[in-house]
């Protein structure tokens, strides 16, 4: 228990020490949005009769009538009060939008990462066991294919084959069939909420909606995961302890899984953490193709229409997620290799 307590204290300290970085991100994004060309007020006042008066009014509504330093002060004090501003696009508070959309993105990213890991680790291990063999080349080819096909292409292809041609997949729009009623919201993860509500049919519906987008995202990240697995397995298979383990006649399974893989897992965790953070932000194309109501497509729409508040809110969210993921990665390190502890 003391070990866990110490870990928690250290984790807390790590979180605190990341606050300056978050603040920097906050100010930087704020300034960046202001120097981008394009006046959001003019864009939003695009009704057939919107004139100067309407533009001024929107400017006031968005707080753009004040000087940039003043705006920054107001913005920071708003953030201090937990207010991320209001989106012009959806008309909702940004915090509410992000809170509703983050679970969708997280669920998709987790599912994709899970699929990618389930596929990539065995592929990497198999390739490492027979380096240079036909299997190794096969894995390399598969990885190259996955990484060179952009997610929106694989997404559209999957939709074309599984939805349009075969009719196996449900229509690729959003997280759930529009005719299914939603479970009471607890975690925001549909696949969990349906189970909590005891609605198996709904759970199926949510899962099958998740499969195609998750697979198209997973395909893209299998390559880095499989390559890292292969490389670190090669190192670990060639090391002294594996040779020793083999020489004392342990079973093949025990040697590969318990000794080699356990020691090769650290770099895989690191890469998985990085892959997760990038996927969360970068899955915008998948979210677009599958009309997935996630944060990335929300941020892109906001960026295109110079809707400042959502973009700033999104960047802050991503920075926080990145900090959290790094922390989780470090904790996982500690579990996988007790010699490493976070500090």
């Amino acid at each position: 228990m003391t070990g866990l307590g110490a870990t928690m204290v250290r984790a807390g300290r790590r979180l605190l020490s990341s606050l300056p970085a978050l603040f920097g991100v906050l100010v930087f994004t704020f300034l960046l949005m202001r120097v981008l060309p394009g006046d959001p007020a003019v864009f939003f006042a695009s009704g057939p009769n919107a004139g100067k008066e309407e533009i001024e009014q929107i400017r006031k509504q968005m707080g753009l009538n004040k000087s940039v330093p003043e705006q920054l002060v107001f913005y920071l004090s708003d953030i201090g009060h937990g207010n991320l501003g209001r989106s012009m696009m959806t008309g909702q508070p940004v915090l509410k939008d992000l809170r509703e959309r983050l679970p969708a993105s997280l669920e998709l990213t987790f599912a994709a990462l899970l699929i990618a890991l389930i596929a990539a680790v065995p592929l990497g291990v198999v390739a490492a066991l027979r380096p240079g063999s036909i299997v190794d080349h096969g894995v390399r080819l598969f990885c190259a294919l996955g990484v060179c096909v952009p997610t929106f292409v694989s997404g559209l292809l999957l939709i074309y084959v599984f939805y349009y041609l075969l009719g196996l997949a449900p229509d690729p729009t959003g997280r759930i069939d529009v005719f299914t009623s939603l479970p009471p919201q607890r975690t925001g993860f549909l696949s969990i909420d349906f189970l909590l509500a005891g609605d198996v049919e709904g759970w199926w519906a949510a899962c099958k909606q998740l499969i195609l987008p998750a697979v198209s995202m997973a395909l893209f990240v299998i390559a880095p995961l499989a390559r890292i697995t292969r490389a670190s397995m090669l190192v670990s298979l060639g090391s002294d302890f594996v040779r020793t383990a083999r020489s004392v006649g342990l079973s093949w399974r025990k040697v590969v899984v318990t000794y080699a893989l356990r020691n090769a897992i650290l770099p895989i965790i690191t890469i998985a953490g990085i892959v997760f953070s990038t996927m969360l932000g970068a899955n915008v194309l998948v979210e677009k193709v599958f009309s997935w109501p996630g944060v990335a497509s929300y941020a892109l729409d906001a960026l295109l229409s110079s809707d400042y508040a959502p973009v700033q809110g999104f960047v802050l969210l991503m920075a926080s997620v990145f900090v959290l993921v790094n922390l989780v990665v470090d904790i996982c390190y500690g579990i996988a290799d007790p010699r490493v502890s976070i500090g």
Binding site: G38, D39, V42, F44, N49, E53, L168, I211, S305, S306
Partner: protein
């Protein structure tokens, strides 16, 4: 190669598909009574008056709220379109226009009820119209175009009669009341949610409806979907009965290819904003109903900044007008899906009629273009930029390439500029673009309205920044012209000035391609360019 990840995935999909097929019949029954409409953008407010509201929000408000009056419909080349000249009652049972054209009297239906069950009274109408011209909302600028500017103009005569007074007989006053903004709100409900800062309850109405319309909002998820339920009391449609569909789902599907797939697979019932190439292939397959209507209140054009050299020289503008490869552009951008506004034949060199937009006698003629350039003193040509916004890239990009290629032949070097939408609108507002393409839409497509809004004044919608006192004077005069023949004459004059000054070059009216299941009937092209859910029914 081993596709390890595919096997479990596809077998799960197969199992699930079996489950789906098993319970398909029970779903089918509710499907028949549900309209699923997929769009590219999303409904972002329940009150269309909020700055920044989308077209999808306009369509939604048309069926959650009623207005005093509505546009009728007419057939144009066999397709149903809204009719600007036929105004019918919606909440008004009947209306009168006084002989001098200064007083409009509306008698309300006595059986009309708001969705909370309370009757619609003249007080509610007065409050709603007052809100429209007083509150800082979009309706204000729109109603201005119909001489409706102050709350004093609306007078309650008795609980079911309201009178509107006009300073001048304005033929756009009545049609303005049929547009999106002057919807009639349950004033009692709205007042309960008004605050000192927000006396017109704009914040509350953005997320709540208090209307008397054909549909009630069931769930509203901005950016994703809106689900509507039919209001059984509503009887303002033409056959005096509730709207056809029991439920309407308006869903945002940003990817156009996915929208096309959905409607083709029969999962969506109707979609309007597809890519021209998808529409063409869906039409060729012949399984779906495709209703293509030229957007007769919209125009795509190439505009030039008339205040900026060298486009301040009329001969340069004429040179451009005769150097554009119209046919190729029309095919590349729209696959020919629309009504061309070029290549007309004016036998005596005069406009054929006073209707705007008109088909101009321009076609590609590089020799003529070179002559005009010489007359402008620029025989060697010049360099310029051609801009368009990212949002229109699918049509504007191929166009831009053709413009560049063709203008190069007469010595004009063109740099193509693809701008993010917000940046493009800012540059247009600041009048910084020399040569660009844009599209415009007018809700009330009458000649004088087009000319006043898009060709006069130092304002954003005067894209070409033309400053022609004669044109401005005629357009102002025509607004209040009651005599039809004189109005037509004014229109001809305006069109003649347009052609000789060539401030911008109208190209075409793109089609609105509505693709729908073959069982859907009654689709009408509406002024807001969205599907009015009340129009459609299933066979």
């Amino acid at each position: 190669m081993r596709f390890v990840s595919f096997r479990p995935a596809s077998s799960v999909i197969a199992t699930v598909a079996l489950l789906l097929v098993a319970n398909a019949p029970s779903q089918a029954q509710t499907r028949a009574e549900t309209l699923r409409y997929v769009t590219g953008a999303s409904v972002n407010t329940l009150d269309p008056n909020i700055p920044g509201s989308t077209r999808e929000s306009f369509a939604l408000s048309m069926s959650t709220y009623d207005r005093l009056v509505a546009f009728g419909r007419k057939q144009l080349n066999g397709k149903w379109v809204f009719d600007l000249d036929k105004i019918t009652g919606e909440l008004a049972e009947s209306y009168d226009v006084s002989p001098d054209g200064l007083k409009l009297t509306f008698r309300l239906r006595k059986d009309a009820k708001f969705q909370d069950g309370s009757p619609v009274t003249a007080e509610d109408v007065k409050w709603s119209l007052d809100r429209c011209v007083t509150a800082p909302i979009l309706g204000k600028a729109q109603l201005l175009t119909g001489s409706l500017t102050s709350a004093d103009q609306f007078k309650v005569i008795d609980p079911f009669t309201i009178e509107v007074t006009l300073p001048k007989p304005d033929k756009l006053a009545l049609p303005n009341l049929a547009t999106v903004y002057p919807m009639i709100i349950n004033s009692k409900m709205a007042k309960e949610h008004a605050t000192a800062d927000d006396p017109w309850a704009t914040a509350w109405l953005k997320e709540h409806t208090a209307g008397s319309g054909a549909y009630v909002v069931e769930t509203f998820k901005p950016g994703e979907q809106v689900i509507l339920k039919r209001s059984e009391d509503w009887n303002r449609g033409s056959p005096d009965k509730p709207a056809f569909f029991k439920r309407v789902i308006v869903q945002s599907v940003p990817e156009p290819a996915t929208r096309a797939n959905l409607v083709e697979r029969g999962d969506a019932d109707i979609v309007v904003d597809l890519q021209a190439s998808d529409v063409q292939s869906l039409e060729a397959k012949g399984k779906l109903k495709v209703v293509s209507t030229p957007q007769y209140n919209a125009i795509t054009f190439v505009s030039m900044n008339n205040q900026m050299p060298p486009f301040d020289n009329v001969n340069v503008r004429r040179a451009i007008a005769f150097a554009l490869p119209y046919d190729d552009m029309f095919k590349a951008a729209l696959f020919g899906r629309g009504a061309p506004l070029f290549g007309a034949n004016w036998p005596d060199g005069k406009p054929l009629n006073g209707i705007y937009p008109f088909q101009a006698p321009v076609k590609i003629d590089l020799d003529k273009a070179r002559e005009y350039l010489k007359a402008a003193g620029l025989p060697e040509g010049f360099s310029t930029t051609f801009s368009f916004n990212v949002g229109q890239a699918s049509t504007a990009e191929p166009m831009a390439a053709l413009v560049k290629e063709s203008l190069a032949k007469i010595g004009i070097k063109v740099d193509i500029q693809k701008l993010p939408d917000a940046q493009m609108s800012t540059q247009i507002n600041e009048k910084k673009l020399p040569l660009f393409t844009e599209g415009i839409v007018a809700w009330l497509p009458s000649t004088d309205y087009f000319y006043r809004n898009f060709y006069t004044g130092n304002q954003r919608w005067n894209y070409s920044s033309i400053n022609n006192p004669e044109l401005a004077a005629i357009a102002q005069e025509a607004r209040f012209e009651a005599d039809k023949a004189k109005y037509e004459e004014d229109g001809r004059k305006l069109n003649a000035i347009h052609f000789s000054e060539m401030p911008q070059i109208p190209l075409w009216q793109p089609n609105q391609d509505a693709v729908m299941a073959s069982s859907i009937e009654g689709y009408t092209y509406e002024f807001h360019r969205q599907v009015d859910y009340r129009d459609v029914s299933r066979k």
